[in-house]
Amino acid sequence: MSDHDQAAIDARPRLSRLEAAWVIARRDFVAVLFSRAFLFFLVGPLFPVLVGGLAGSVGGQVSRSAVTTEIGLAMQADDSAAMIAAAETLRPQLGRSIPSMSVIPEARGEANFDARAFVNERRGNYAAVVTGTLAAPEVVGTQGQIDRWSGPIELVAATALQTSPGTFPSSSSSVVARSAASERTNRIRTAQASQMVLFLLTMLLAGMVLSNLAEEKGNKIIEILAAALPMDAVFMGKLFAMLGVSFVGIAVWGALGWSFWALAEDAIVVVTQTDFRSLPGPAVGWPMFLLFGIIYFSMAYLLLGALFLAIGAMAETVREVQTMSMPVTMMQLMVFFLAAYTITLPGSALETFAILFPLSSPFAMLARAALDETLWVHIAAVAWQAVAAFLLIKAGSLLFRKRVMKSGGAGRDTKKRRLFNRSPAQQSSIEPAE
């Protein structure tokens, strides 16, 4: 830097709030992003998903192999063949409702085959055994299996007897995207899912802000920052740094999730028993809805983060941070429940309250984006949330300046009236240290 530049510094002797916030945000962002802790933070949430997926997959496999749906046939050979053929005829229409059937080898050619004894002795691996004739089949098995399979077996026997249709007319289909009755129900599912994702991300990521200031107090950095820059700029810089880090986290998790989906789309649908491909579209359309998702996540993060920062600023240790943040976490949970509850109460006073209350507003508005295509309300809501976040940051920094940077210890008590009179020794013990 030349002397001319130094003169420029002297001529403009303060950083703007934006510049000040940028200095803090840049350092915090880089420091967090390239820390080992962040790597663990990124990987952490993937483990439960991975373990859950594996467990679901293995469990499903075990469950599928453990549940036997095969029916053993101990009938005359012709009857057995007719039953098997009838089952094959019906299966395309009725799918898994029709059990697979096979002739019990031990019963083949045995006129006196004792089905009850066979089942009682737990031989073979059949859900139930069918004896008798096509006109009067007898199902041998436990009560549960009899209840479950009697109907299908009777249908198969009737088909084998050709007393039910042997051929089925093919129907043509005309699919509609949605019906008036189903549209709202489907969108409510989208609203609920988006609120849940927003809540989980906010709670997971806003925690990073929580210990930030407490750590800086521990490192004694905070006084240097407070001396150089306005405290609200410091708060703002820290919040936006952590928001940036959060987006990195979301991008990484999103990319991994997308890759996983691309690799194992069908498996995910089977394991989760949810067809994400057919998620109902939100009222404002997917692109706009995703944009709102990003905006409302940012606002929810800034609002909650500002609260957490204020708490972190007042706490001396990480343990204190955890204790002090508990009420806020509980409140956030209640706010989420409130927003979730009002999904089914559009236009109610409660929904209006959820939209106006800053901490629940992003959740309520995201649900609204799923249910209602009106856009202007979102502009108003985002503006209101931004104002609330700004006020929270201001209040937090004011609190910090008033309550945190205490010093001096001469201990000249100016309060005229005290609830309890303390001895000078007691008074000195509560004085802040210089």
Binding site: R14, S35, N219, L229, G409, G411, R412, E431, E434
Partner: protein, 332 residues
């Protein structure tokens, strides 16, 4: 300028401006601050001319840190006004100020060179320029080898030096140092004194707090003595010392005699010596009476009061004892 001891003990604040010709870097009037009903400072007045080295002197808990924090805008006073280079809000001229807090702090995982650059960036210096200047400063202080070490890899003294360099990297016009000598060994204390003098030579105003009187006495043009949240004296070091009469030490051959009546009222005997304040009339009339009384003068010396004596007289015995205890604690 001679004043009676009784005047020194007066509770009223005394201001003895230093070099009124220069514009003021810092001007504070009637600063009051309390925390939760506990008064930290009550009515502090300080004037520091540009280019001066100024000491804020007082025992631990006197209110030095609170005063500095108010001057820097870290906290706001409940009452009173403060102006730094004529600005009511110190953050408005944040790029002209460097501050070293009493509780040293740096990011442990940051490299030394990055820490210096970051502290410069806080004051508006571009990071690249901060790194360049930081390296120059580290080389100047024989710490170039530590540039790429993280703070947690440095010794306490090295980390403290790095923080001090970070305080200066943006070339501030006002440097505020809170207890800068604490934690430093004698060699580094000497280096710091040299650095402070060099800053003043460049026209930088330096204000530092300390509970070690010798540093203030060696370095400062002016001091503010803080005791019990008040400033019983603020002004030049010379004026403070002049507020105590010079001390006379007299050694005589005769132990007693009529000549003793000529000694001032405050004279006290300690071993072979008499100690008393230099009379306002000077020493010549007394000498004449001692010679005529055949006291047999063996030696007579006149010693000018030091800043410590002035501190005792101004802040009181209790504050002085606490100051000595603080110094002993710091040195141990």
């Amino acid at each position: 300028m001679h004043m009676q001891v009784g005047e020194h003990m007066s509770a009223s604040n005394v201001s003895a401006p230093i070099n009124e010709d220069r514009p003021l870097a810092i001007e504070a009037r009637g600063l009051v601050k309390s925390f939760d009903g506990t008064m930290a400072v009550q009515g502090i007045d300080i004037s520091v001319p540009e280019g001066a080295i100024y000491g804020v002197l007082g025992p631990n808990g006197a209110g030095k840190t609170t005063t500095l924090r108010m001057l820097l805008g870290i906290i706001d006073p409940d009452q009173g006004v403060r102006r730094v280079f004529g600005h009511d809000r110190p953050h408005d001229i944040g790029r002209l100020i460097g501050y070293l807090p009493e509780e040293r702090g740096l990011y442990p995982a940051m490299k030394a060179i990055e820490a210096i650059a970051f502290m410069g960036a806080l004051r508006g210096l571009p990071l690249a320029e901060g790194r360049k200047r930081g390296l120059e400063l580290l080389e100047k202080h024989d710490l170039a080898h530590a540039a790429d070490r993280t703070i947690r890899q440095l010794s306490k003294g090295m980390a403290q030096t790095v923080q001090l360099l970070g305080t200066l990297v943006h070339r501030p016009r006002l440097v505020v140092l809170d207890e800068p000598f604490s934690g430093l060994d004698a060699i580094n204390q000497g280096k710091l004194e040299t650095m402070i003098r060099a800053l003043a030579d460049e026209g930088v105003t330096v204000i530092f707090s300390t509970h070690v009187i010798h540093h203030a006495e060696r370095l400062c043009e002016g001091v503010a003595i803080i005791a019990g949240g008040k400033v019983p004296y603020a002004g030049s070091v010379e004026t403070a010392r002049d507020r105590i009469p010079a001390q006379v030490r007299l050694e005589t051959r005769a132990r007693d005699g009529a000549w003793t009546a000529a000694l001032p009222e405050d004279a006290r005997r300690e071993g072979d010596f008499f100690y008393f304040s230099l009379p306002e009339t000077g020493v010549e009339p007394l000498l004449k009476q001692l010679i005529e009384g055949d006291a047999g003068i063996l030696s007579l010396s006149i010693e000018r009061a030091g800043l410590h004596d002035a501190f005792v007289a101004i802040a009181g015995e209790a504050a002085a004892r606490q100051l000595e205890a603080d110094q002993a604690g710091a040195s141990s």
